[in-house]
Subunit: 350 residues, 2 copies
C-alpha cells in the first residue's frame, strides 16, 4: 500500500473481511467456532484477571454505537460495534463491527480486525459454551426463533460444541427460514422449517431466541416453555429490547455474563435490580451451580461481553502466522527519534 | 489490497501515516493547523449538540490506553490513544493514536485514520484557539517548557493563530531543545534556546508547559509566573500527572474543556472538587468572560477532549476527496442479503 517503507513498529496487522473469510474457510467454520469456544471458555476461567466495564454506548433513534473495551493486564482489546435494527430493510447489516488488540506495556495496537463476521462466530461460540454447562445432558433438538444473520452460526456452534442433531427453524418472515434451511442443508443437521414459534419449540431441549426488533417483544410466552428446557436468549441485548415474557424469567434460573451490563441490556431489565442471577464464569470455574435438576429451566440471558470479543481476537491473532491471511497497515507514526514527530513530517515533504 | 471486489458499502476510507503526512504537506502544515483550529472553534460553538463523556481509560503501571467517543447526532467519532511516558526511552512514541468517524443513522464507519500525527496537530490547534480567546492581546513571546514531540506543533499553531513571533525553548534534555530549534529554524519565528525554565519564562506573554513525566511534577513554581500571563498547560493530562505548583492555580482564572474529565486528569486534580473553573466553549460562545484585565493570570488546563478529535477527523474527512490521499479498506461485511452472512462466508470458499 505504501511506496516508502515504514519500520515494522509502524505496522499493524489488519484482517479484512476477505481475509477473515479466508481464515475461516482455510481452517473450516465448525473448527473455528469450536476453537473460539475454547478460547472463550479459557478466558471465562480467568475472569478475575480482566478489567471489566459495561460497554460505552451512544444511543440514537435509529440504533446504537458501542465501544467494548477490556484488558487482561498484558493485552488490551476493544470492539466497535453498531446495532441498527432498521438497517436490514435498507440493505445494510444490522450489526457491523471491528476490533483491536494492543500491548498494555507500550500501548501499541498489534491487531486490527473486521469483526462483523467474527462477532457472529463469537456470539454463537459463547451461546454454545453456556449451553454446554447449562443445557440438559444429551440435548439433541434446538428451536431457533429468528432466522437472521446469526441463525446458522448458532446451529453450527451447537452441533459442534453441544452435539445437537436437529434444528427447528421459525421466523416471522418465511424467506429467512428458507434461507437458513438452504444454508444448513449440507451441515449434517436435521433441519425442520416450522410455521409458528409454538411449532418450533415442540420437543426442543434448547430454545434459542435471536430476533432483532428494538422493542419490548414477546417472542416466547410462558406456556411455550416447559420444565427442563434451556433457553438461550441472545436477541435482547440493549435497553428497551427484550424477547421473553417476564413470567418465563420468574420460573428460570438466570445466568448472565457481566451483571452490571446485563441489568441494563438483558431480559432481566424487566425484573427488579436485585433479582438473583448467576455469573456464567462461576459455573464454568466450578464456583457456582449450573443445572441442578432435570426439571429446572435454565436461561442464559446473553447480551455479549467484551471478554468474548477479546477471546475471539486473541484466537484470530494466533492464526495470523499460521494462515498468512492479513495485510500490514501503516497505522502508527514511527519517527527515528520518538520526540521528532515534526521532523518526520517535514522530511516526508522532500 | 483485494483480489475480489467487495461493494462500496464494505469499504472504509483509511488514512495511513504516510497519507496523513501527504495531506499535511500538500496543504502545508501552518494552514492545516489553522484550518483544524477553525473546525475546533466551530465545534466548541455548538458544544451543546455533542454527546459528552469522560474518556474510558485502562490504566496500567506503564501508562494508559483510552477510548474517547463523542457524537453530534449525525456523526459519531472516537479516538484510541495511549500515553506511555517510558516509551520514549525504549524507542516507542509516548502517544500513538487512531480514530474513526461513523454515520449515526446506520452505524457504518466512514473514516479510519491514523491519529498520532493528527493528535499532535489538534492538540496544538486547541491550545492556540484557547490562547486566541484568553492570552493578552498582542502576545508575541511564548515560553515552551518541554521540547518533545508536541513542541514544534505548538510553536507553529501559536505563530499562525495567535501571531506570536518568538519562542523561548527549554527542556531538561538540551538535545530536545536543539532538535526543536533546528526544526523551527526556517519557520519565521525567532527561536531562543534557554538554559533554565526561569530563563525561558522571562518576558513571555504565554507560557506553554508540555512535559511527559507521569508524576506530580512542578515544572512551574509560583514565583515564575507574573501577572498578566497566559499559561497553556497541556502536559498534565491524566490522574497523578501535573506540572504546575498548586499556588499558581490559586492565583489563576482556570479554563477547561470538559470539567468532569479535567477534575480527574488536569492540573485542578490538585484543588477541591468544587473549585471554580470556566468552560472554554462558553468563552468562545460569548456566554462567559475570558480575559477581563491586563493583570489577570489565565490558565488553560488542557487535557484533550473527544470533540477536538472529532473536529480534526471531520477536517481530514473533508480533505479526502480534495487530496485523494487515502486507501479503501475492506473492513465491513456486505453480503447481498444482509441476513445471509453465513451464505456469504460459504460462497467465499468456492
Amino acid at each position: 500500500m505504501s511506496t516508502s517503507q515504514p519500520s515494522h513498529l509502524a505496522m499493524v496487522p489488519f484482517v479484512s473481511v476477505e481475509n477473515m473469510m479466508k481464515i475461516v474457510n482455510t481452517i473450516s467454520l465448525p473448527k473455528v467456532i469450536a476453537d473460539i469456544a475454547d478460547y472463550i471458555e479459557a478466558d471465562f476461567l480467568r475472569w478475575e484477571e480482566f478489567d471489566k466495564t459495561p460497554r460505552v454506548a451512544a444511543h440514537s433513534e435509529e440504533g446504537v454505537i458501542e465501544l467494548m473495551p477490556t484488558s487482561d493486564g498484558e493485552t488490551y482489546g476493544f470492539k466497535y460495534v453498531n446495532g441498527h435494527p432498521a438497517n436490514m430493510a435498507r440493505g445494510f447489516q444490522t450489526v457491523t463491527a471491528f476490533g483491536v488488540l494492543a500491548t498494555v506495556e507500550n500501548g501499541y495496537p498489534v491487531l486490527l480486525s473486521e469483526m462483523t463476521v467474527l462477532t457472529a462466530l463469537r456470539t454463537a461460540a459463547t451461546s454454545a459454551v453456556a449451553a454446554k454447562h447449562l443445557a440438559p445432558k444429551s440435548s439433541k433438538v434446538m428451536a431457533m426463533i429468528g432466522n437472521g444473520a446469526q441463525c446458522e452460526f448458532q446451529a453450527i456452534a451447537f452441533q459442534n460444541v453441544v452435539a445437537i442433531d436437529t434444528v427447528r427453524l421459525y421466523d416471522t418472515d418465511p424467506t429467512a427460514t428458507a434461507k437458513a434451511a438452504r444454508n444448513l442443508a449440507d451441515s449434517g443437521l436435521t433441519v425442520i422449517q416450522c410455521t409458528s414459534a409454538e411449532d418450533a419449540v415442540t420437543g426442543a431441549h434448547i430454545i434459542t431466541t435471536c430476533t432483532a426488533d428494538k422493542q419490548y417483544a414477546t417472542i416466547l410466552t410462558d406456556n411455550m416453555v416447559g420444565s427442563g428446557q434451556h433457553i438461550n436468549a441472545i436477541g435482547g441485548d440493549c435497553h428497551g429490547k427484550t424477547e421473553l415474557h417476564r413470567d418465563i424469567l420468574l420460573r428460570s434460573d438466570i445466568f448472565v455474563e457481566y451483571p452490571p451490563q446485563t441489568r441494563i441490556e438483558g431480559e432481566i431489565q424487566q425484573l427488579d435490580p436485585d433479582h438473583p442471577v448467576i455469573e456464567l464464569w462461576k459455573v464454568i470455574a466450578g464456583k457456582a451451580d449450573g443445572r441442578k435438576s432435570n426439571d429446572q429451566i435454565t436461561l442464559f440471558d446473553s447480551v455479549g461481553f467484551a471478554t468474548e470479543d477479546f477471546s475471539a481476537l486473541r484466537y484470530i491473532r494466533d492464526q495470523l502466522k499460521v494462515t498468512g491471511h492479513y495485510d500490514n497497515l501503516d497505522m502508527l507514526a514511527d519517527p527515528d527519534d520518538p520526540r521528532d514527530l515534526y521532523g518526520m513530517l517535514c522530511r516526508a515533504q522532500s
